[in-house]
Each structure stands twice: as C-alpha cells, then as structure tokens.
C-alpha cells in the first residue's frame, strides 16, 4: 500500500465536523483566556493576533488540499469546506476584535479602512470571502452549477490579500510573513501549471 493509501483509509472515518468543533473550541478558549486576563499585558493584541494567525493557517490548509491530492494522492477533499468556513469564522472574529475591542469607534474603523493600507488589503480579503462563505453549502453548489467553481476562484485572490496583509503590517524586514506569502504563491502557481498543461493535450 502506498503512503497515501495508508493515510487515506483512516482519514475517511474522521468526520469533517471535527474541524468545526476544533475551531469553535479554540476560539472559545482564546476568548476565555482573554476574559480571565491570561493573555499577557496586551490581551486585545494577543487575541487579534491569535485569531489572525488561525485564519492564516486555515487559509494555507485550504489551498494545500488540491495539490496534496494531485501530487501525493492524499484525499482530504471532504475537509475543504470545513477548513474554508472555519477560516472565514476566524477572520470574522479577528475583524470584530479589531473593530470592537481595539479601535472601539465606527468613525475610526472607517478611517483606518481607508487610510491604513494593510487594513484596506485585509478588508478586501475579507469582502472577497463573504460570497465564498455564503455559497459554501450543497444548495448553492447545485444552484450555481459550473458558476460555482468560477466564483470560488475568488479564494485565490482572498488568499493573496490575506498574505499581503500580514507582510504589510509587520515592522521591519521580518521573515515569517514573507514565508507565508511565498507558500501561498507557490500553492497558487501549482494550480496554474496544472490547468495550463491538459488544455494543450
């Protein structure tokens, strides 16, 4: 049996719901730590960053599903919707933490969206994710038919914006956000090659 098959077999028995449960549990735990004042000296920043990080990890996880299947034969497709929706869930919480706990006023929320490029870019990423989240259900899938796949290519733009947002917000030349953006771009490039090749055959 190939390595992929060894993994695929047990994975088939893991329900996708587990991802929702883990996401909810993690978010709840973070919020609880915050309320208990156990997130350090700057709990708002700690919460905002932890939620942003969770969204970023899930974003990469969502993009990795297809290449993993193509290049390694791993079938994790059944988790993809849960990964995507959980990512959106964390972005929403990240945005709410920022607006309600950090910025604390609607006029300043609006000013920051317009004036701070990294916020503008993050916000654009979030807005692109809204139609994706709204159509991540079986009924929309049937209803939109072939358009569903086209619509969901927005994922790629949202991912790049999310990665750029992180690169733009750090002070100084830091490696970590650049590594994330590079990973996102490579995961997207893998798709370009795949679609270009069979088209000519």
């Amino acid at each position: 049996m190939s390595v992929a098959a060894v993994i695929n077999t047990p994975v088939r028995h893991i329900p996708a719901g587990l991802i929702y449960m883990c996401s909810l549990a993690y978010a709840g735990w973070l919020l609880w730590l915050g309320i208990e004042n156990r997130l350090g000296a700057n709990p708002v920043e700690a919460l905002e960053h932890a939620l942003g990080e969770a969204a970023l990890y899930l974003l990469v996880a969502g993009l990795v599903v297809t290449p993993l299947r193509r290049f390694a034969g791993l079938n994790l497709l059944k988790f993809r919707r849960a990964i995507g929706l959980s990512c959106f869930f964390f972005v929403v919480l990240h945005l709410l933490t920022w607006a309600v706990l950090d910025v604390q006023a609607l006029d300043r929320v609006w000013a920051d969206i317009l004036k701070r490029p990294y916020i503008t870019v993050g916000m654009a990423g979030f807005l692109l994710m809204v139609p994706l989240a709204l159509t991540s259900n079986n009924r929309s899938l049937r209803w939109l038919g072939a358009d569903w796949r086209k619509l969901h290519r927005l994922t790629y733009a949202a991912a790049v914006l999310g990665g750029m947002h992180y690169v733009m917000l750090v002070k100084g030349w830091q490696l970590r956000p650049l590594v994330f953006l590079a990973i996102i771009l490579v995961l997207l490039l893998l798709r370009v090659r795949r679609r270009a090749r069979p088209a000519k055959v």
Partner: protein
C-alpha cells in the same frame, strides 16, 4: 544635576500591588458596560494630564514580559525569553566625539558617580500602547557632564550592543544592526531625559535594556534605546535605526503627537496596558503629556514636518 524633576506621586502609589488588584476587579465589573458602548463615536475628549497625575505604575510582570527588543526576536515575549543570554557584567560605555574626556566608562564607575533617583514616567510606544513605569536611574545630562560636552556639539548619538552570539534576533535583518538612536543636545540635556538602571527599585532586567538604557518620555518608545555601549557627541544629526528603515514613517524627532497620523497607526488614541481585554482607549497627548516641560524645545518648529 539630580532631582531636577519630580512627580508628585505618593510612595504608596508606586509599589502597591494590592491596590492594583483591587482596581483590576473593579475593571472587570465595568468591562461589560464598556464593551456595550464600545462602538459609539470617538468624540470623547480628555483634558491634558501632567506629571502630577501620571497614574499608577504598571505591574512589574507586565513591564518585564511585554517588550520590543528586536535583537532578541520580534515577538513581544521574545526578549523576556532570550535576553538572559546577554552578558551585562562587565559592561562599559564608550563616550567619545566632542567631549573633554573620551574613553571607556565602566558601568560601576558611572554608578558610583551618579545619584540614583526614581522617575515615574509614561512610556508610549509608536504601536499605540502605553505603560507607566517607575524607573530608577540618573539624568542623561549628568552622564554627559561627566565626560564634559565641548562647545560646538549639537547632537548625541547612542548605540546598542551588537552580539550575534548572545542575541538570536540579529540573525534576521529586521533593521540595520546595531540599533542606533540620537537626540539633539538640548533634548539630551533636558531634565526629563533619563538613563534607567532599575525598575521598581530592582536592577533593570535584560529585556528592558540592562544594564543601562535611555528613557525619553515625550518621544515614542523606540527613541529610548536599550543596553547602551556607545555615546557619541557630534556636530551633525546622527542616523537613527527606524528612520534608516523608513524615513517616511519614523522621523528623527519622533515626538509623541496625536496630530501626526503614522502611516501604520493613527496616533490619536492609545491603550494603557494592564487593564484587561475590555479596557477603553484613551486620547494621546502631545509630547505624551509632557508638553509643559518640553514644548519650548520646539518653538517655531513645524512638528508635522519635523516628525
């Protein structure tokens, strides 16, 4: 000259951890109501505060666990984790440039000549967080006078230690190492400009810039350079680390100024740390509230141009 500036804080305000805890419990109670009203508008104004009501100092735990000291990593917790690697004994500071007695000044020799006092200052980071810190140390002017500032001097340059084998963060080119900073001579001689060697009466921890660091309370925190190994008195404006990285974002002066919106952060509001998840933002004061003391240094200067 020591004791040129005083805050009128009662001693009981400084170390009273129990009073702090009481306040924290009260904070938790009002947290819900603050959260409920949080998305109103931001028209609330507050009068300026002065040295007399600087506020109650932050906890030792917060002051020593939440630091920007990129030589040890860019995470706020990295300095507390890794700064123990820094050897601070022996330590000496090279004082050179336009001074009468240039040379290497051993830390112990400096300490034996200074009178140590406590200064409770507001500390304001460009990232919009603030703390209240009870520093111990001496006036920068006293140290400069030890070396004898010569006429013609106009600026003072500072440099942080650079030791790759003791500083895991410098393997990344976050900024150009070593970290450098500078002040105009009149800023450096101002009674508020302080060299801190302790916090809460204890030796200053490595993550806060041991064994000696600058504290300039009316400027953004990055001006308050840590673990100083060199002080050079010069005629020309010295380069500064964050200005080198991005002159548009970080000026030479870097005075706290709510009217100059930093490209990354609006500086209108700040977060005083140590107040939990639902703490309210407070308006930023010009010169971090030290306007009365320092505004005269900048008379006639456009603070937006010379930011």
């Amino acid at each position: 000259m020591a004791y040129r500036w005083k805050n009128n804080l009662k001693e009981s305000d400084v170390t009273s951890e129990s009073a702090f805890l009481n306040r924290r419990q009260i904070m938790a109670g009002v947290a819900g109501s603050i959260a409920a009203g949080a998305l109103g508008t931001s028209a609330r104004a507050m009068g300026p505060w002065n040295a007399d009501d600087v506020g109650e100092p932050n906890e030792w735990e917060d002051i020593t666990s939440y630091n920007n000291y990129y030589e040890f990593g860019t995470g706020k917790g990295d300095p507390a984790k890794y700064a123990h690697m820094l050897t601070t004994k022996p330590w000496s500071v090279t004082i050179d440039g336009l001074v009468d007695k240039p040379g290497d000044y051993a830390f112990e020799d400096i300490m034996s000549k200074m009178s140590i006092e406590e200064r409770i200052y507001r500390f304001r980071c460009v990232e919009r967080w603030a703390m209240i810190v009870p520093w111990n140390g001496f006036e920068l002017a006293d140290l400069l006078e030890l070396a004898g500032v010569q006429s013609g001097a106009k600026y003072v340059a500072f440099e942080t230690a650079l030791r790759p084998e003791e500083m895991p963060g410098v393997s990344q080119p976050v900024i150009d190492w070593p970290y450098v900073e500078g002040l105009r001579l009149d800023e450096a001689m101002h009674p508020l400009s302080f060299i801190a060697t302790g916090i809460y009466g204890k030796d200053i921890p490595n993550q806060n810039g041991a064994p000696l660091r600058l504290v300039v309370p009316w400027k953004y925190g990055y001006k308050s350079i840590k673990s100083i190994v060199r002080i050079t008195v010069t005629e020309t404006e010295p380069p500064t680390a964050w200005n080198n990285y991005s002159a548009r974002e970080y000026g030479f002066y870097s005075n706290v100024n709510p009217n100059r919106s930093h490209p990354r952060w609006s500086q209108e509001y700040e977060q005083l740390l140590g107040q939990g998840l639902f703490a309210e933002k407070i308006p930023t004061r010009l010169f971090n509230g030290y306007e009365e003391e320092v505004a005269s240094l900048y008379e006639g200067m456009d603070l937006l141009e010379f930011h």
